[in-house]
C-alpha cells in the first residue's frame, strides 16, 4: 500500500534510472539514440504511473456495484 509521498519516491527512482541511462548507455555511434530513448521512455512511464496514482489519491467517487455475490462482499 502506497502513501501519498510515493510519487516522490518514484520520482527519485526514475531520476536515478535516467542518470544511469545517461552514463551506462553503450558507447559508439548509437549512444545518443540509447540515451534519448531510455530517458524518454522512463519519463513517459513515470508520468503515466504518476497520473494514475494521483487520480486515485483523493478520489471524489467510490466504486459502486449491485451484482456482488454473497460471500464475496468482504474481499
Amino acid at each position: 500500500m502506497a502513501q501519498g509521498y510515493s510519487v516522490f519516491v518514484g520520482l527519485v527512482i526514475v531520476a536515478a534510472m535516467c542518470v544511469g541511462a545517461w552514463f551506462l548507455s553503450p558507447k559508439g555511434e548509437n549512444q545518443t539514440t540509447w540515451r534519448s530513448s531510455l530517458i524518454i521512455a522512463f519519463i513517459s512511464c513515470y508520468l503515466m504511473w504518476f497520473v494514475t496514482f494521483m487520480a486515485q489519491l483523493h478520489p471524489l467517487i467510490e466504486p459502486r456495484r449491485s451484482n456482488v455475490r454473497e460471500g464475496f462482499q468482504h474481499e
Binding site: S36, M48, P63, R65
Partner: protein, 871 residues
C-alpha cells in the same frame, strides 16, 4: 556535440567534394564508389543532352545486352525453365573487368543468335506439324465422307445439276450398273477439301452460298481435338470441310474464297488407294517432324537451362555496369588532360574511407598518378543524410514519409522511437493483447533472416515495422498493467485500497458502495475494485481525459524545446527570442497552468476541505470568458493569478508577431549599410568564375539573412571554390540566398503566430484522442468477452464444454482480428498523427532534400526490373 561525432540527433555533416580521376580508371573508381555507396554525384553536364555524353556508346551496348538477357528470360518463362535466383545477401559478385563485360556481351550475342535460330526452326517445324496434322484430319474426314458419298451420287448430282438434270439423267443411268467404282470426275464434279476455323464456318458457308448461288454441296465435320497455333500458342477449334461443285471456274472461285477466309486447303485424292498412300505418307512425315521437333525442343531447353544458371548474375553485372557508365556520364571529361572531374556530396566523416578506396583502385591499376579528392566550399544546401540501423530504420521511414528534415535540424525520428509507440500504447493498453503482439514481434525478429524473403506485400510491411511493433508491444504491456486490463479482465496483483461497505442485513442483489480502507492507495495502476463497478466509466473517463491532457502537454512542451536546439544550432538567436520564448510562455501560461491545476486538484483531499471541488474545464473556459468572476475557487488568490497569466499570455502575441520581422529588417538594413562600403572586398577569386555567378553571390552576401547559413567566407584557404556545374547550367539545387523582402517575412510571421496560438488550443484538444481510443478499445474488448466467452463459462454439462471450446476460438480470433489488428491499426494511425502534426509542427521545418548516394546495394534492391532475378 562535437563536430566529429555523428549521431541520430542531427543529419550527418556533409561535404562537397571534387574528384579528379584519371580517365583509364574512371570505370573502376566509380565501381568502387558504388560498392561503398557514400557519394551522391552531381550532374556536371546538365546542358548536354543524353545522346551527346561521353559514354553513351557503352550504355547503348549494355542496353542491348540487357535486352538480350531479358529475351532469354522471356524464352525461359515460355519454356518453363526454372531460373536460379541470386541471393544478394549471400552471394557477392566481384566487380568485373572490362574484358569480362566484353566477353559477356559477345557470349550473349552468340547465345541470342543460337536461341533465335532454335526458336525459328522450332516454330517452322511446329507449323509444319500443324499442317500435317490438319492434312491428316482432312484425309480422314473427307475420306470417310467420300466412302459414304459413293452410295448416293445421284443425290449429289441432283442437287448440283438441278437445271439440266432431266436431260442427262438417262445418259447417266446407263453407266450406273456398269461402274461400281464411279468417279466424281465422270459426272464433272470437282471438289475442294480443307480446314477452317470453327468460328468462321457459318460466314464461310453463307458467302459460298451467295456467290455460287447455291451451286455447291458442302460437307463438314468438326475436328474433335483443338489445334495449336504455333505463332501464339493458342488452341483453336477447326472444322474439316469438303465442297463439291461443278466447273473449273467455280472451283477456282471456291478456292479463292476459302483462302480469303483463312482456310487451309489440302489436296485429297478421291481414289481410296491413293488416299491410303497419302495417309501413310502424311503419317510418316508427321512422325519425322515430331522427332525433329522433340530434339529441337530438348536442345533449346538444355541451352536455356544452362543460361538460367547464371542469368541472374549476368543481369546484376550488366545493371551495375550500366549504372556505373550512367554515373560516369555525370562527370565532366577534360579531353586535354585526359581526366574525369566529378563533383558530389559525401558525409564528412567518411571522407577518409573514400580517399582510401580511390587510393586502392589506383594502386591496383598500377597507375603513377593518383586520384585527387578535394573538399570544396559551397553555398548550396547539403542533402540530409540520416544514417540508420535495422532498429531505427523503420522509425526513420515513418518520419521521412512526412517529409525530409532540413539539413542538420533535430531529427524527429529520435524522440519518435519512444513517443510514437508510447502514445500508441496509451490507446492500445491491454496486457493480454500486448502479449500476443509482443510474441508476434519477437517471432518476426527471431526468424528475421528466413522471413525477409517473404514477398507477400502486407506481411512485408508488417515485417518492415517489426521493431516498431516490438517497442509498441513492450509499452502496451506497461499501459495494460497501468489500466489493469488483460483481455478486459483485471489483475489483482496487489490488495485493493477499497473494501465494500456492507450494511447490516445486506442481501445479494442490493447495491454496495466501497469505502477506502485507510491511507494506503493501490500502488501500481488502476485499482481493480473499479473493474466491473457501475460507475467505473465515470471514474476512468475523468482519469483518462486528464491523463491525455497531461501527456499531450508534456509531449508538446518537449517538442517545443527542440525548436530551441534548432535555433541554437543554426545560430539564429532571433528564433529563440522571437519564437521559442514567447511561444513557450504563451503555451505554459494557459496549458501549463491547466496541468498544474489538474495535479493540484488531485492532491487535495476534498472530503475534508471546506470548499467544493471545482470543474477544471469550466475553470479554464471562464478564465477567458469572464476573468473577473470566479464561481468556485480552487485555491486562494486564484483570480489574481489567472488574470496575471492571461495578461502574460496575451502580451506574447505582439512579441511573436513583430519581434522577428522587425529584427530581421533592422539587421538587413545594417548589413546593407555596411555592404555598400565593403562591396569591393566581396568578390571571390576563382579561376572558373564568370560574371553571372558573381552576380548571384553578390546578392547573397548583400542580405543579412545569411545568419547561420553557410555563407562563403571571403578568405578561403586555397581550396577551389569553383562550381563546375554553374557553367553547365545544371544547377538543380536551389540558390540559397534570396532578396530580403519585409512584407514577405511579416506575412510569414503573422501566419506562424496565428497558427501557433490556435494550434496550442486545437492540438491540446487533439490529444483527447488518447482517451477516446483507449476507452473504445477497452469497451470493445468488454463487449467481445460478454458476447462470446463470458456467457459460455456459466453453462453446465456437455453443452458447456462444447460452448467453451467453440466460443474460446471465436473469442480468440475476433480478439486478434478486431482488437489487435484493426484497433491496433487505428491506434497506430492516431499516434502517427500526433507525432506528425502535434509534435513535429512545433520544431521541424522539413525543407531538406534526401541524400541519395550512388550505391549498388540500394540500386539493386530497388530496381523493379531485377525483382524476378533476386532470390
Amino acid at each position: 556535440m562535437a563536430p566529429a561525432k555523428q549521431s541520430m540527433f542531427r543529419s550527418a555533416d556533409m561535404s562537397m567534394v571534387q574528384l579528379y580521376i584519371s580517365n583509364e580508371i574512371g570505370r573502376e573508381c566509380v565501381n568502387a564508389l558504388g560498392e561503398l555507396g557514400l557519394v551522391q554525384f552531381r550532374d556536371l553536364n546538365g546542358g548536354v543532352s543524353a545522346f551527346q555524353r561521353t559514354f553513351t556508346q557503352e550504355i547503348r551496348r549494355l542496353d542491348n545486352v540487357e535486352r538480350q538477357l531479358r529475351y532469354f528470360h522471356a524464352q525461359m518463362e515460355k519454356a518453363n525453365v526454372p531460373l536460379r535466383k541470386l541471393d544478394l545477401d549471400v552471394e557477392t559478385l566481384a566487380p568485373p573487368t572490362t574484358t569480362e563485360i566484353d566477353e559477356l556481351a559477345e557470349r550473349s550475342q552468340s547465345l541470342e543468335q543460337r536461341i533465335f535460330q532454335l526458336n525459328d526452326s522450332y516454330e517452322t517445324l511446329k507449323k509444319r506439324e500443324v499442317e500435317l496434322t490438319e492434312w491428316r484430319w482432312v484425309l480422314r474426314e473427307a475420306g470417310g465422307f467420300f466412302d459414304r458419298a459413293h452410295g448416293n451420287v445421284d443425290e449429289i448430282r441432283a442437287s448440283t445439276e438441278d437445271d439440266d438434270a432431266p436431260l442427262l439423267q438417262d445418259v447417266e443411268q446407263h453407266h450406273q450398273g456398269a461402274e461400281v467404282e464411279r468417279s466424281f470426275s465422270s459426272i464433272n464434279i470437282g471438289f475442294v477439301a480443307g480446314v477452317i476455323n470453327r468460328d468462321r464456318v457459318a460466314a464461310f458457308e453463307r458467302i459460298l452460298w451467295r456467290t455460287l448461288r447455291g451451286n455447291l454441296y458442302m460437307n463438314q465435320s468438326e475436328i474433335p481435338e483443338p489445334l495449336i497455333d504455333p505463332s501464339n500458342n493458342e488452341a483453336i477449334n477447326k472444322n474439316v470441310f469438303v465442297i463439291f461443285a461443278h466447273g473449273k471456274e467455280i472451283l477456282a472461285k471456291i478456292r479463292r474464297i476459302s483462302e480469303s477466309m483463312g482456310a487451309d486447303i489440302y489436296s485429297v485424292d478421291e481414289n481410296t488407294d491413293l488416299r491410303r498412300d497419302q495417309m501413310h505418307e502424311v503419317n510418316a512425315r508427321l512422325n519425322d517432324v515430331q522427332n525433329v521437333l522433340h530434339n529441337t525442343q530438348q536442345t533449346l531447353t538444355a541451352e536455356l537451362t544452362q543460361i538460367g544458371q547464371s542469368l541472374a548474375a549476368w543481369m546484376v553485372l550488366i545493371t551495375k555496369e550500366k549504372a556505373a557508365y550512367q554515373t560516369l556520364n555525370l562527370f565532366s571529361f577534360d579531353k586535354q588532360r585526359r581526366t574525369l572531374i566529378a563533383e558530389g556530396w559525401c558525409p564528412t566523416n567518411d571522407l577518409p574511407r573514400i580517399r582510401t578506396t580511390l587510393q586502392d583502385v589506383t594502386n591496383r591499376a598500377g597507375l603513377s598518378v593518383s586520384s585527387i579528392i578535394n573538399e570544396i566550399r559551397t553555398n548550396k544546401t547539403p542533402p540530409t543524410y540520416l544514417k540508420t540501423n535495422k532498429f531505427t530504420e523503420a522509425f526513420q521511414t515513418i518520419i521521412n514519409a512526412y517529409g525530409t528534415a532540413t539539413y542538420q535540424e533535430v531529427n524527429p525520428a529520435l524522440p519518435a522511437i519512444v513517443t510514437f509507440p508510447f502514445l500508441f500504447a496509451v490507446m492500445f493498453g491491454d496486457f493480454g493483447h500486448a502479449v500476443i503482439m509482443l510474441s508476434a514481434a519477437l517471432a518476426m525478429i527471431y526468424w528475421e533472416k528466413p522471413l525477409k524473403k517473404v514477398t507477400f506485400e502486407l506481411f512485408a510491411m508488417i515485417y518492415y515495422g517489426r521493431y516498431i511493433a516490438l517497442v509498441m508491444a513492450v509499452f502496451s504491456l506497461f499501459t495494460g498493467l497501468i489500466y489493469n486490463d488483460a483481455f478486459s479482465k483485471s489483475l489483482t496483483l496487489f490488495d485493493s485500497a477499497w473494501e465494500w461497505d456492507v450494511p447490516e442485513g445486506w442481501k445479494q442483489g442490493e447495491p454496495l458502495t466501497a469505502k477506502l480502507k485507510g491511507d494506503g492507495r493501490y500502488p501500481f495502476g488502476l485499482d481493480w475494485m473499479w473493474h466491473g463497478a457501475e460507475n467505473d466509466l465515470l471514474f476512468t473517463n475523468s482519469y483518462k481525459m486528464k491523463m491525455s491532457i497531461i501527456l499531450g502537454w508534456a509531449h508538446m512542451t518537449y517538442s517545443l524545446c527542440l525548436s530551441y536546439f534548432n535555433a541554437r544550432h543554426f545560430k539564429k538567436p532571433i528564433d529563440i527570442w522571437g519564437n521559442f520564448v514567447p511561444g513557450m510562455i504563451f503555451f505554459q501560461a494557459i496549458f501549463g497552468y491547466l496541468v498544474i491545476c489538474i495535479v493540484y486538484k488531485w492532491s487535495i483531499d476534498w472530503t475534508t476541505a471546506d470548499t467544493q471541488p471545482p470543474g477544471l474545464l469550466n475553470m479554464l473556459i471562464y478564465m477567458f470568458l469572464q476573468p473577473m468572476t470566479l464561481d468556485i475557487p480552487l485555491y486562494r488568490g486564484q483570480k489574481t493569478v489567472q488574470i496575471l497569466l492571461l495578461l502574460i499570455a496575451f502580451v506574447q502575441v505582439p512579441i511573436l508577431l513583430f519581434l522577428k520581422p522587425f529584427y530581421l529588417r533592422w539587421e538587413h538594413n545594417r548589413a546593407r549599410a555596411k555592404g555598400y562600403r565593403g562591396i569591393g572586398e566581396r568578390a571571390r577569386v576563382s579561376a572558373l568564375e564568370d560574371d553571372e555567378d558573381a552576380d548571384g553571390h553578390g546578392n547573397g552576401n548583400g542580405n543579412g539573412n545569411g545568419l547561420g547559413r553557410h555563407s562563403i567566407d571571403t578568405d578561403d584557404d586555397g581550396e577551389g571554390v569553383a562550381m563546375l556545374a554553374g557553367h553547365g547550367g545544371a544547377d538543380d539545387d536551389d540558390e540559397e540566398h534570396e532578396e530580403f523582402e519585409f512584407s514577405e517575412v511579416m506575412i510569414h510571421q503573422v501566419i506562424h503566430t496565428i497558427e501557433f496560438c490556435l494550434n496550442c488550443v486545437s492540438h491540446t484538444a487533439s490529444y483527447l484522442r488518447l482517451w477516446a481510443l483507449s476507452l473504445a478499445h477497452q469497451q470493445l474488448s468488454v463487449v467481445l468477452w460478454d458476447m462470446t466467452l463470458g456467457p459460455s463459462l456459466t453453462r453446465p454439462g456437455v453443452v458447456g464444454v462444447i460452448a467453451i471450446v467453440v466460443m474460446f476460438w471465436l473469442w480468440f480470433f475476433l480478439s486478434c482480428a478486431i482488437l489487435i489488428a484493426m484497433e491496433g491499426c487505428s491506434a497506430m494511425l492516431h499516434s502517427l498523427r500526433l507525432q506528425w502534426v502535434e509534435a513535429q509542427s512545433k520544431y521541424a521545418e522539413f525543407a531538406g532534400h534526401m541524400f541519395t548516394p550512388f550505391s549498388f546495394v540500394t540500386m539493386l534492391e530497388e530496381d523493379d526490373g531485377l525483382a524476378e532475378f533476386r532470390g
